[in-house]
Structure formats: structure tokens, C-alpha cells
């Protein structure tokens, strides 16, 4: 039902928003070379390496992500994109390396602290909390809840007011993501695409400044993809930075301001979507592992 509505809604081409234009302008001066410095980086990674049984799954010398932009991280399967995500968000520990978020070193910081500092992520395999209702999923995302201290749990009057505010914000976000009609259903009863939306909406409950999406389009039907695209753009327009891993080249081309390409754990190219689609290194990398498949062909 929602899916059909979205389909008709997004048929017309969307003009670039002010923030999009600003992001692209800021990046227009940046040279398209791997590891290049950005004018205003929010995330900086230095010599991050992760070995699995002697094989370097990730080996990134230098990487910067421009604040206020939508940056895509692409590469053939096994390029180390998800591992890189895990490393940067603290879900995995690098064998060596340093990285900083918003000017703060994140080395050895636990994942929940990073999330609390404003770097929130989603997962390739959606992690909806299936036995919790949709609204409970949303409310869980809010940070600094007084009722999350156990002794306060016994004293509802301490947290009831805050809970009401959180619920209001959750409902507002659910409405925006067109999940309000599922509000009281178990998250387990949502479709795959709806779960992706829920996970993204839930992540926004933490008020992040950097949103990291791991394959937001995987398993989502084409109609819902457009709606997701729009939501991702909306994040940037609200001042957030988006870094996402994606295989869907249409989406990458459509919405990203900047593209970073990884292959075999290394950074092999960076640039605007146009620069990347004509970059011979990138085509080689994809040809190497995809046997003749065109870069811009949908997988």
C-alpha cells in the first residue's frame, strides 16, 4: 500500500536541494585521488588494518568523509566495506590504525559510546527487534533516558514525562517514514523493506551527526527504493552526514555527492559519481571480480 503510493510520488525528477548544492560545491575542488583530504572532514581514518588469519581484509591508508555530504562506499564483494564499517563503529577491533570522529580520537572507544557521540550505524542484515513492537523499537533509540536506570524503572513518575516526549518524537518519525500504521505491530511482522525503514528511523532517534548505512537497499523492492532514496537525501538536508555502503549503482549515482571505491581491502579510487564511473581503475576492479559485468549495471 505504502509502496504503491511512493511509486507514483517519486516519478518526477527531484531538483537538488540547497544543501546538496552546497555539499557538491565544497567537494568540487577536491582532487579525485584515493585518500585525498577534504575541506571539512567529520571522519578521518589513518592506516586502518584488519587481518583475518593472515589476510588483510581492510588496509586503508587514509580516508576522509566530508561533513554534510552523502558519501557512498562501493566496491566488489569481499572488498572489506562492511569490515571497514565494523572497525570504524567499534564493532570490530583493527589490528592497527587510528581514526577520529568530529575531531575526537575513536581508538578504543566502545561502540555504544560512539553511537552516543553521534555516529550511528545500521546493519546489512537488518536488526529489527522482532519481538518488540514498532513503537518500542523507536523509543529504544532515544538517548539519555532517565527510565533506563534500573532503580528509576520502579519510579514511573520520574520518567513518564520524558517517555511521552520520546513517544511523540517516535510517532512523528514513524509518520515521516510511513510506518505509523504499523505502530503497535511486532517489528517481526514488517516486510524486509519496512524493516530497513524502521532501522533507519530508529537510528535517527539517537540524534546522530553521522549516519552510516550498510547496504540500505539490499532486499528492498524497487518501489520502496525511491522512498528510501528520498529519506537518505532528507538526512543530509537536515544537516547530517551520510556514509553508506551500496551495490545498487543507480542509487549511488542518484544521491551521492562523493564516491569512495574499495577493492581487496584497499582504497582504490575517490571522486564524484561521474568521475568514478569513468575511472579505469574502478572498472578494472569490478571486471576482476565480476567477469565483464558493467559497473553501472544493477547487480
Amino acid at each position: 500500500m505504502t509502496d504503491e503510493a511512493d511509486l507514483t510520488e517519486v516519478q518526477e525528477a527531484q531538483p537538488l536541494s540547497q544543501t546538496a548544492l552546497a555539499a557538491r560545491a565544497a567537494l568540487s575542488e577536491v582532487a579525485p585521488v584515493p585518500g585525498v583530504a577534504k575541506p571539512d572532514p567529520i571522519l578521518i581514518a589513518d592506516s586502518i588494518r584488519r587481518n583475518f588469519g593472515g589476510i588483510a581484509a581492510v588496509d586503508v591508508d587514509h580516508l576522509e568523509v566530508q561533513r554534510g555530504s552523502i558519501t557512498a562506499l562501493i566496491g566488489p564483494n569481499g572488498a572489506g566495506k562492511t569490515t571497514f564499517f565494523n572497525l570504524v563503529t567499534g564493532f570490530d577491533k583493527p589490528s592497527e590504525g587510528e581514526w577520529s570522529f568530529d575531531g575526537r580520537s575513536m581508538h578504543g572507544v566502545s561502540p555504544h559510546k560512539m553511537a552516543a557521540l553521534g555516529m550511528v550505524r545500521t546493519f546489512q542484515l537488518t536488526k529489527s527487534l522482532t519481538k518488540l513492537s514498532v513503537i518500542e523499537n523507536m523509543k529504544l533509540g532515544a538517548t539519555d533516558q532517565r527510565g533506563e536506570r534500573w532503580w528509576n524503572g520502579l519510579l514511573p513518575w520520574i520518567w513518564r514525562k520524558q517517555e511521552a516526549e520520546i513517544e511523540e518524537r517516535s510517532d512523528e518519525l514513524l509518520g515521516r517514514f510511513k510506518l505509523d500504521h504499523m505502530r503497535d505491530e511486532y517489528a517481526g511482522s514488517l516486510s524486509g523493506g519496512q524493516r530497513k525503514l524502521l532501522e533507519m528511523a530508529r537510528a535517527l532517534m539517537t540524534n546522530p551527526s553521522l549516519v552510516m548505512l550498510d547496504e540500505p537497499m539490499a532486499g528492498v523492492n524497487p518501489a520502496l527504493k525511491q522512498s528510501l532514496n528520498r529519506h537518505v537525501r532528507g538526512l543530509r538536508d537536515e544537516g547530517m552526514t551520510v556514509l553508506f555502503v551500496e551495490h545498487d549503482m543507480d542509487m549511488v549515482h542518484d544521491i551521492s555527492d562523493w564516491v569512495i571505491v574499495m577493492a581487496e581491502g584497499r582504497l582504490i579510487a575517490e571522486g564524484t559519481p561521474d568521475q568514478i564511473s569513468s575511472n579505469p581503475d574502478v572498472i578494472d576492479a569490478y571486471l576482476g571480480s565480476h567477469q565483464g559485468q558493467s559497473l553501472l549495471e544493477d547487480e
Binding site: H112, F123, T130, L132, W150, E163
Partner: protein, 337 residues
């Protein structure tokens, strides 16, 4: 076979002391396992912490019984930290392994000759429950008299323990109910579903798991205290490894992740357990039960048969009705991973 005796025993046991302390222990285990997904296989260890916390007051510390309550809580907290710190960052099996091991070692230590001075060895510790029973008699419950009605008749001593025990069940039941409806409970339930998701939302999963383990452990210690007060002594073999598993069976029977489940489950468990015992004892009271000259069961083997049925019941529940007898499969709060 005396069916009226069997049935009256069954009903009496459903609200008896065993069901009572099982219910308290099950409430604690439910917070850990049912709501948070923590495999605490050492609830017996927490119960021992409670029992010995009380028992050691007069025996070893030479202080009033009432100090035993804070001592027991401190024991349970130390035990929980010991079990939790190394394991709660790791996958869930490690907690199961460490808790089962810790409970076993606790039993070995308290029954050892080396620590007999502290824990009383295999004989355990007795004669500490006096002050507790005195409160009962001061309230007019005479230890020797009979109290209750119909089949529910108890001696004054049991009656007083039962009143205190079931009040504790009600209190802990209400506390757990409140907690699980609070944002704190929401975090625990979310951890059971997927702890990485919770972590990615900025919650300190390790800390919440620890809180859950400690909370359930302290509740378990209260179960151990009630057991000790009922028996009038603490004995190492009352806190065997398998006790945890029986409580787990009772909990699964009633339904995980429901407050009612942890109270109704133990009642049913003990009802069924005593009923089976009555029937088997009835069948073997005039010598071994024989079919075609082959001895099927003798009166000394009744206990083993009962426990085999407990094990079989646990397997059957987990396989066919993981939501418990009354749960609805849709709402089954137990996530299969």
C-alpha cells in the same frame, strides 16, 4: 492407592514452601534468561549465597540473623560480578559454562573439610532460624499449632515461612512487572533480541547485562534464604547443580518472559512432581512393581523416575512449546538464534 491423599498432597505442595522458593528463584532467573537472554545455569550458586549468608551469621560471624540479609546480598553481588565480568562481553555460552562451573565449585567449597569452620562441611549449618521464627510467634503464630483450611494445613512454623515467602513472591513479582514495563526493561528485552542493535543505539549493553545478572542473582539469594529458613539449616546438597535446571524447567513450564509464568510455573511443577511421586509410591508401596515377573520400578527408584520425567518435560517443552503451557506462540518472547 489412596487418591485423596495423593490429591491433597498435590494441592498442598502447589502452594507449599518448595513452590514458594522456586517461584522466587524463577522470578530472578526470568529476568536473566526470559527477559535478557542470559543463560544463567548457576542460580543454585546465588541461592547458596543467600542460604549461607543467613547461616553464617550465628555460626561464623556470631552476629544477629538479620545481618544475614545484607551479607547474603553482598555475597550474591560478588558472585554475580565474578561470573559476569569475564563472560558478558562474549557469546552467551560462556556465561552458561562459567555459571555452571561456579555453582559447582561453590558447592565443593562449602562442603569441604578445609572450610568446615566457615561453612560447616557436609553437615551444613543449623540453628540460626530462631529469631525469624520468633517474629512469627510474636505475631501469634504458634509453632506447634495447625493453620490453614481444607487440604491446606500447615504447622505454625511452615505457615509463617509460607506467609513471608509468598509475600516476597508478590513483592518481587510486582517489582519485576514494573521494571519490565519501564525503559530499563525495554533495553533488556531488546538485548535478548539483538544486542548489537542495542549497542548501535548507544546503550552500554555490558552494563545492562550485568545489572540483569546481579538483579536476578540477588532475587535468587532471597530464594536461598527462604529455603534455609524453611529447612532451619543450610546444607550444601540442597544447592546442587541440578537445582538450577529444575527451576528452569518450572520457569519454562509457566512461560518465559512473563511474571505470571515464573509464579504459576513452579506451582504447577510441584503439583505435577508430587502427584507423580504419590502415584509411583502408591504403585510400589507393596513391593516392587512387576510386569510379567520383570521388575519395573522399586520404591527406592521413585526419585530417579520423577527427575527423568522432569528432564523429559524440559526437552518436550523446549521442542514443542517453548512459550510454556499457556503462552501464545506468536508472543513467544524467546528468540531463536
Amino acid at each position: 492407592m489412596d487418591w485423596s491423599l495423593i490429591l491433597s498432597n498435590t494441592f498442598r505442595q502447589m502452594v507449599g514452601t518448595d513452590a514458594m522458593y522456586f517461584a522466587i528463584a524463577a522470578l530472578g532467573l526470568n529476568v536473566q534468561f526470559g527477559y535478557t537472554g542470559l543463560l544463567n545455569f548457576g542460580q543454585a550458586g546465588f541461592m547458596a549465597a543467600g542460604g549461607y549468608g543467613l547461616g553464617m551469621t550465628a555460626w561464623y560471624f556470631s552476629i544477629s540473623l538479620w545481618w544475614g540479609i545484607p551479607i547474603a546480598i553482598v555475597y550474591a553481588l560478588i558472585l554475580g560480578l565474578l561470573m559476569g565480568i569475564p563472560t558478558l562481553r562474549l557469546r552467551s555460552d560462556y556465561l552458561a559454562i562459567v555459571t555452571i562451573a561456579a555453582a559447582e565449585i561453590i558447592r565443593l567449597v562449602v562442603r569441604s573439610v578445609r572450610f568446615k569452620e566457615q561453612f560447616g562441611g557436609t553437615d551444613g549449618i543449623g540453628e540460626f532460624a530462631g529469631p525469624f521464627r520468633e517474629v512469627g510467634s510474636n505475631l501469634g503464630i504458634e509453632q506447634g499449632n495447625k493453620y490453614g483450611f481444607w487440604v491446606f494445613e500447615y504447622t505454625g512454623r511452615q505457615f509463617w515461612t509460607l506467609i513471608v515467602g509468598w509475600i516476597l513472591v508478590a513483592i518481587f513479582g510486582f517489582v519485576v512487572y514494573l521494571l519490565m514495563r519501564s525503559p530499563w526493561g525495554r533495553v533488556l528485552k531488546a538485548i535478548r533480541e539483538d544486542e548489537d542493535a542495542v549497542r548501535s543505539l548507544g546503550k552500554n549493553v555490558y552494563s545492562y547485562k550485568m545489572q540483569s545478572l546481579l538483579f536476578g542473582g540477588v532475587v535468587g539469594a532471597f530464594a536461598g534464604m527462604m529455603l534455609a529458613l524453611d529447612r532451619g539449616n543450610v546444607q550444601p546438597d540442597n544447592y546442587s547443580r541440578d537445582l538450577t535446571f529444575y527451576i528452569l524447567t518450572a520457569l519454562v513450564l509457566g512461560g518465559l518472559a512473563k511474571v505470571s509464568g515464573s509464579i504459576v510455573g513452579p506451582m504447577l511443577y510441584w503439583g505435577v512432581y508430587v502427584f507423580i511421586e504419590g502415584v509411583l509410591r502408591g504403585m510400589t508401596s507393596d513391593g516392587p512393581l512387576q510386569i510379567g515377573g520383570v521388575t519395573i520400578i522399586q520404591s527406592t527408584q521413585v526419585g530417579q523416575v520423577q527427575l527423568m520425567m522432569v528432564g523429559a518435560g524440559l526437552i518436550a517443552l523446549m521442542t514443542f512449546r517453548p512459550q510454556g503451557l499457556f503462552g501464545n506462540r506468536e508472543e513467544m518472547a524467546f528468540d531463536d538464534r
